[in-house]
């Protein structure tokens, strides 16, 4: 009886994992075949055309999209994490009159959907003359309510106040204390937030769709959107393009899945 339960338990777990992986595995397998082979039916033996497909897909526009996405995601994640850490430090270490007001304001910003700002943002970027660059895609990530909340929690919870106090007594000025002492102490939190913002900005689709209107500024999601038109009948190339587009993310996630999962579930479970 007991072993039958165990078997059923592992059977369900394996089955569910298979469901999670199936679309991805089929994508990988299809990217190793020719389109004709894909159409001949279900088969899970990899083909031999992976390199040919990659050659088809590695066109200049793909590499440009890659570079654009990297630029946007790296700049957004680093700047927004720095700003959030500074704000989180201010809210957790200093006692000042408006502290609670600012903190509640931060919580409020987390609930506001970004769509309500979109038309005004587009107009603002037009007036500033930035619509021909990638800058609008970066500026929109700078103020992260989630980041400030996250950093504030982390610094309050794990940064010993005595260290900051003793640095002050030793004559370290506030900026110095923050950059030399606090930042190295909160490295794990910085890492998590960098990954989160990187993920969100890499995956972001609606904002670039609205703001970017020239192919040389396309990010990866916009490039994926053109795959269907570009390779109308070449399904193998489509799948290969898709695979290459999400590969860095998949790799990063597999290497740091603990950090990712912790970040993405932060705030959801309180105690």
């Amino acid at each position: 009886m007991k072993s039958r339960w165990r078997f059923l338990k592992y059977f369900i777990i394996v089955l569910v994992c298979a469901v999670s992986l199936f679309p991805l595995v089929s994508m990988v397998i299809m990217s190793t075949k020719t389109t004709e082979e894909i159409f001949t039916g279900l088969s899970f033996t990899p083909g031999t055309h992976f390199l040919d497909n990659i050659k088809t897909v590695l066109a200049p526009n793909f590499l440009v999209a890659y570079k654009n996405s990297l630029t946007v995601s790296i700049c957004s994640s680093i700047l927004s994490t720095l700003f959030s850490a500074m704000a989180g430090y201010a809210l957790s270490v200093y006692q000042f009159k408006a502290r609670n007001t600012v903190y509640n304001f931060v919580l409020l910003t987390m609930m506001v959907p970004s769509s309500i700002a979109m038309i005004g943002y587009m107009n603002e970027m037009r007036i500033l003359g930035l619509t021909k660059s990638l800058v609008p895609l970066i500026l929109t990530w700078l103020a992260s309510g989630f980041g400030v909340f996250w950093m504030c929690q982390y610094i309050t919870g794990s940064m010993p106040r005595e260290i900051i106090e003793s640095a002050r007594i030793d004559g370290s000025n506030e900026m110095n204390t923050f950059f030399r002492i606090v930042l190295p102490c909160v490295k794990p939190a910085l890492g998590t937030q960098i990954l989160m913002i990187f993920l969100w900005s890499w995956n972001s689709y609606l904002m670039p769709l609205v703001l970017i209107n020239r192919a040389s500024n396309y990010t990866i999601p916009l490039y994926i959107q053109t795959l269907g038109n570009e390779y109308v009948n070449d399904y193998a190339a489509r799948m290969t393009g898709l695979l290459l587009s999400i590969f860095p993310l998949l790799l990063a996630f597999m290497l740091g899945s603990k950090t990712f999962i912790r970040g993405l579930t932060a705030g959801a479970v309180k105690g």
Binding site: T109, A117, F253
Partner: protein, 298 residues
Amino acid sequence: MAKWPWIFLSPFILSYLCFMLYPTVYSLFVSFTGWTAANILEKPYVGFKNYIRIFTADPLFWKAVGNTAKLMLMAMPLTIIAGLLMAVLMQNIRKGKQMIQTINFLPYVITPIAIGLLFAFMFDWNVGLVNTALVKIGLTDKNINWLGTPQHAPTVVALMIVWKNFGYFMVLYMAGLSTIPSDLYEAAKVDGANAAQSFFKITLPMLRPITVFVVINGVIGGLQLFDEAQQVFMGAGSNAVGGPMRSCLTVIWYFYDTSFKNNSRYGYGAAIAFSLFIIIAAVSLINVRVLNRKEDRL
């Protein structure tokens, strides 16, 4: 000393003011005008006309809200059951826990628009894996037009929601399970409760806050569903707004189409975005109420 917190806060506050608050206030102003791309220089003030039309005379807006409700009713129970089941099954596993988590969490981090394109191919009418498999097993004798008919299209979108989210739910439930004190179960056992009883009388009620959280966030996410849904139909070669007969139109999709595609009616689009915000705020308020009532009881 008093200036320091403000120096540290200033990058965040300034960028919020410039790139979030200002555009939001500007959008709010636009929502009271009849601004369109066709007549870009004029922003005729129309008062509450846009809002009155949305809430009383715009069948598409309410269809979009209704579609979200329908998609959630289809997707949520399955997502919650799958996530909870996996969390419970994995409770006493020692080896491979991290790997199973990683595998099932993967769909949650993949670029949503890539998921759309992938599902478009899997549910393709002629060559898709799903139809091929269904015919082979003998469940259907002719291929089902999954993405081209309003009866079947919401099913595909709902399945995408389930596939993408259940791993996330699983991790949340696992975190929830780990906070339930084990002496509760021991006490129940002493009182003669069997496994099913302790699951329904202890586990489920203790996980209620998480269930409320995932449902509320699911609804909020459902109203803003766009990337995957748009792409699953575009991948199938259709440019129809909202899928076949708008059966999968969501509020954000409607907002995008009104503001940036269909004549770029900025004024009306902005009003749709703020109406969405009103609905989300109402849903969140219900959430707060429900959670507070629970705390009162404890």
